[in-house]
Subunit: 209 residues, 2 copies
């Protein structure tokens, strides 16, 4: 059984990453989405072990102590993290696992699991995000500019990613296909074909003997 691939996906806030992931998993249900652990309370309709692994603060801190997270962070009063166990089980089963995660978290994951593939989702231009937010009208100009500053900082990390995926307006299907191409192609990489190459090498030794 060939092991699955771990893909970390980040993206500018407002680049449509959520919609993209939903469309990808609908079209390709063979991919598994990683499930986060959190200490925050479940919201109405959220299901334990499906939407999140809901944990008490003590449980979460015990897991931190036991190095059970690929990455974790604290926001306001709550912990959020990616438990290794779920991700590793899926990978062992041959499932490709997708992990939605912000820039900081990605590099922690890469450190713990170096074979991780890093994908960054962007719009063709940053200004497009500002325009979208202004049009939507749900945020104050100050909040929008704060978001834009965050995006401007994240641009510095783009070269650390393996792939840059452009999510163009009204081209969601195209973007889903591009994402699928990336994941599929990784399976053909020489680094992921070691078992096959070993087998061919053994056969070659028999021939030249």
């Amino acid at each position: 059984m060939k092991k699955g691939i771990l893909i970390c996906v980040s993206g500018f806030s407002g680049a449509g990453k959520g919609t993209l992931m939903k469309a990808l998993l609908e079209k390709y249900p063979n991919y598994a989405l990683s499930i986060s652990a959190t200490t925050r309370s479940p919201r109405p309709g959220e299901i334990d072990k499906k939407d999140y692994f809901f944990k008490t603060k003590d449980e979460f801190e015990e897991m931190i102590k036991n190095d059970e997270f690929l990455e974790y962070a604290q926001y306001v009063d709550n912990y959020y993290g990616t438990p290794k166990s779920y991700v590793y089980e899926q990978l062992e089963k041959g499932k490709d696992v997708i992990l939605e995660i912000e820039v900081q978290g990605v590099f922690k994951v890469k450190e713990k699991y170096p074979d991780t593939v890093l994908v960054f989702v962007t719009t063709p231009s940053i200004d497009e995000i500002r325009e979208r937010l202004i049009k939507r009208g749900t945020e104050t100009p100050e909040k929008i500019e704060k978001r834009m500053s965050q995006i401007a900082r994240e641009v510095k990390s783009l070269y650390d990613y393996d792939y840059i995926l452009v999510n163009e307006n009204n081209k969601l299907d195209e973007c889903v296909e591009k994402f699928n191409h990336i994941i599929e192609s990784i399976h053909q990489k020489t680094d992921n074909s070691k078992d096959l190459i070993n087998k061919l090498e053994t056969e070659a030794e028999e021939i030249t003997k």
Copy 2:
């Protein structure tokens, strides 16, 4: 206009590379196949500048002198080579160019054009090739064993390739799709997204100013 990608394809003799390339180009006519130059005489039906660039020995040697080849080699009394001009023109036009070439040639191309992507086509096992050849019955046992020794030598080069593409019996369509995934995914690589990242960086500077 985004530049095209140069893909070098090698494969074990008998792994079905020819059939694969034909099927790929039928399904995806957007890819361009590189055209070789040769000093051998055209065979009936072969068209100059389509099947080959037919050259005299003097012309070919003049081209060698002027560094006009990505790679070239001499077999028996004839020269064979890949003229840079045709490949580069296609790449500039944004076309992805596929170059079918044996192991030795690949590394010469990689040296002259480091962005080349190297793909190796193999059967799931080498023994399968021997079985196929025996079944076909067109070659003497000595010739078959000579072919197998050649294959055994080529196995040593597999780790120099970027992708290993397995061409399974009766799964040609699947292999064509995998090949297409590889080429498509390369366009999303961060190294091939420099223009976009530059643009985003300029926008980010405006924001943080």
